[in-house]
Amino acid sequence: MSQPGANCPNCGAPVRFRWSSSVQTVCEYCQSILVRTDVDLRKVGTVADLPRDGSPVQIGTEGRYRHLSFVTIGRVIYEYDQGLWSEWHLAMSDGKNGWLSDAQFEYAVTFAAPRRQMPAAGAVNVNQRYEWDGVQYTVTTITDARYRGIQGELPFQTWDKEKARFIDLRSAAANCATLDYSDADPVLYLGEIVDGDALQLKNLRSFEGWPS
Amino acid sequence: MYLAYGLFVLGLLSAAEYWGWSFNSVSQRKDVPRSVRDNPGSYRSVYGGYPHYTGGK
């Protein structure tokens, strides 16, 4: 799964990809944002300081979802009118990737669902209903967010992006869906909200005065 | 707990039914002589009178 042998074009340090299809990553040593082309790694920028937040998750946090285990390999921090939240890029034990949504101890695990019917960006309103894979979803929120920070490996490029629009949907049960309109090609993510305890998170951040 | 109580009630009931217990107490006396069979009038009933009013108006 991990690809050996690449080096940072800026500082020469070894760069490791923990997920085979990661497109963008950050060099741990010089903080350069690197994009993977067919041929090599290209530096496109430098990460800014991450905003402070209280999430206990960090890069390298491990956990379990259903029958799979995962490790967090990347992160995007978004900012909206009510604050910040993180989307953690997960490398799953079956070779696929997924996302862990992390907003003040409320978690959801979703996976990209390609080739599904998706409405146009302007056509969606709160309380509308959609159905995917036999499950009924209702639109709960429409969020306009901006990119506030990145870490680690991501399956897309974010260095050239500023704004993103997300539409969140919930089913009557614990299913959730997100329509991601940050790219020209919108992406649908399907998954479920999960309880923090159910994720069995290990290797969390340490907090002064709190034994882990 | 209730089982013990219930069995007690049923046991008490069985004893009462078996031995013919009742709430109305009946006046008893012992040593009624055999002579009463020959002279029933000599038996002084516990009931001095009648179970209803017999006096004049």
């Binding site: 951040r205 | 009931l13 008893q28 209803h52």
Partner: protein, 444 residues
Amino acid sequence: MAVVSGDAPDRPAAPPKVQGLNCPKCGAALSVRSFDHAVSIVCGSCHSILDAKDPQLRILQQFEGKVHEVQPLIPLGRRGRWHGAAYELIGFQQRTIAVDGAHYSWHEYLLFNPFKGFRYLTQYDGHWNDSVTLRSVPDATRGVIGTVTHEGVTYRHFQTATAVTSFVLGEFPWEVRVGESARVSDYVAPPRVLSREATGNEATWSIGQYTSGRDVWAAFALPGSPPKAVGVYANQPSPYGRAGRVWRPFLKMAGALLVLMIVLSSLALKSQVFKHTYTFDTRRAQPDQPESSFVTEVFDLQGHTSNVELTTEASVSNNWIGVSYALINEDTGQAYDVGREVSYYSGRDQDGAWTEGSTRDVAVIPSVPPGRYYLRVEPDADPGPGTIRYTVILRRDVPSFLLYGLALLALAIPPGFATWRSMSFEQARWAESGGSAPDMGSDS
């Protein structure tokens, strides 16, 4: 500083520290305990609410001197083992509602664990609840109006009122102001409670579980004892269990009673041991006339000690006959005295035909030992022109259905008492409910 993964050689991640800050107004030291989660911090010394997200700690509100100081029972910063993890008390607020002109206040304690998040302990009149925010919205569409359903359990509306924040201490992951109000609705399914809190357009749901003060005291190692619980609280579980349950063993006992009744009454002898018809000449009746007394032949009372049923039937019409009986054991001389009367009257008046009394009288002599017996009979009636025919019947060992009825009543006493206690408890619970009706409308 960007947080890097542990792989980097000489860049160990710096764990976030507990911040030491000072109040911009009075300079008092402030502890921030929730690692970048805090939105509002209260300075306990000068009662200023500060903006935790502002590096200058801008003052948002000052409530010094305007409120009654309240001491939290769990001190700020105290840690305890709660719900499977260590939690620290980081915030405290008092909230007040006005119902029927009276003010009721409760206390909310905010607990924090950096890995697990926030929990809330609420306390009112010695009753405690352990709550967390709910992510899914309970279903208000099914079932009766005034109930909501969550995870298959139906919660009944208990109270809706406007809650005003009347005192704050510590820090909170949301904006707080003394004097701000929220519409709070409680729905109960003891021991749980669903609370809906709405400010403006937003509504948040939380689920709470009734907790004993003793558990809180033990978890936080607090001195002394918890405040005594007064009355019955909204979601306090009933110590008497579910009312219906106590009647199941009763039904089983009643079944056993029925079987017993069938068995015993069929085993009873119910045998007729004596029947004779006599004639009383009323022309010869005089008060206290012992000549009318006579004795019957001797008969056997068989079996074990049991009762004797004595029936007197008389063909009286608008007349009466009194009979004084003595059941005498020929061998032991034991006598049982019974005085009976048969009277029957009938007639017509403006309301129609009426009757009074009966031509038949039944009496039971209890616990008569077996043996040879005879009856001494002394009839009496008003002096009259004719005769009264009367029949005396004795039956040995008859079942008493009154006793079966009493036994059934006795069996019903414990479940009846338990049901009464449970109903009183529930009455006390719902006596505290009220306020407004639940706010209707869809929820976000």
